[in-house]
């Protein structure tokens, strides 16, 4: 089934540990995104990628890094996790990074940092 997969589904992590959230899409979309969803705050963009080999910062990039080595994969890394990074993380993709493009979302990763 075409779409976006994310791994892990959930994770409990000790503060200070390094963690990579994985995201893979099979729709050959050019643009990909990482959001975090927090209660009462909606979705906030962390990082994005217009196409393979390029990335950019969103609204809340501090403490996170991304890479886009190929079209399909867009991992999000927390170099040294802190409790404020406890959240649900969603990866999304769209054909291109245009305002009119529909974004397609993965099922999310629930991360708890203790």
């Amino acid at each position: 089934i075409a779409g976006i997969t994310q791994a892990p589904t959930s994770q409990i992590l000790a503060a200070g540990r390094r963690m990579t959230l994985r995201c893979t899409q099979d729709m050959r979309h050019n643009a990909m995104y990482w959001y975090r969803q927090d209660l009462g705050l909606g979705l906030r963009l962390i990082h994005y990628s217009n196409t393979a080999g390029t990335t950019g910062k969103g609204e809340v990039p501090d403490g996170y890094s991304v890479s886009r080595a190929n079209t399909d994969d867009f991992p999000l890394t927390l170099a040294s996790a802190v409790p404020s990074q406890t959240s649900v993380y969603f990866c999304a993709s769209s054909v291109d990074r245009g305002g009119a493009d529909t974004q397609y979302f993965g099922p999310g990763t629930r991360l708890t940092v203790l």
């Binding site: 909606g42 999304a92 305002g99 999310g108």
Partner: protein, 113 residues
């Protein structure tokens, strides 16, 4: 820059009753408008969107939204809700020519049997 305000964080409604979820936006340029829905423990999925043309847009499951430029609104309506409509609904806006999609904080719709 653009912003989105969803006026209600929670909306309880009885089954088969009508519902309206309110969304107002601000932008200095023309906009594209979206409603996304998130069912429990799932990711978001597009419900409907306005890009241009007719100001009334419809989804396949009976929701509709009307773009009102003068009131800068894009309210979501359904004349008769079902239990299966229980979800969180997010309004989002992108400025024409912009790459940034801005989401509202969401409205939780609870349909009561």
């Amino acid at each position: 820059a653009q912003s989105v305000t969803q006026l209600d964080s929670q909306v309880p409604v009885f089954e088969e009753a009508p519902v309206e979820l309110r969304c107002n936006y601000s932008s200095s340029v023309s906009v594209y408008l979206f409603w996304y829905v998130q069912y429990p423990n799932q990711g978001l999925q597009l419900l409907l969107k306005y890009l241009s043309g007719s100001t009334l847009v419809e989804s396949i499951n009976g929701f509709e939204a009307e773009f009102n430029k003068s009131q800068t609104s894009f309210h979501l309506r359904k004349p008769s809700v079902h239990i299966s409509d229980t979800a969180e609904y997010f309004c989002a806006v992108a400025g024409a020519g912009s790459y940034q999609l801005t989401f509202g904080k969401g409205t939780k719709l609870s349909v009561i049997p």
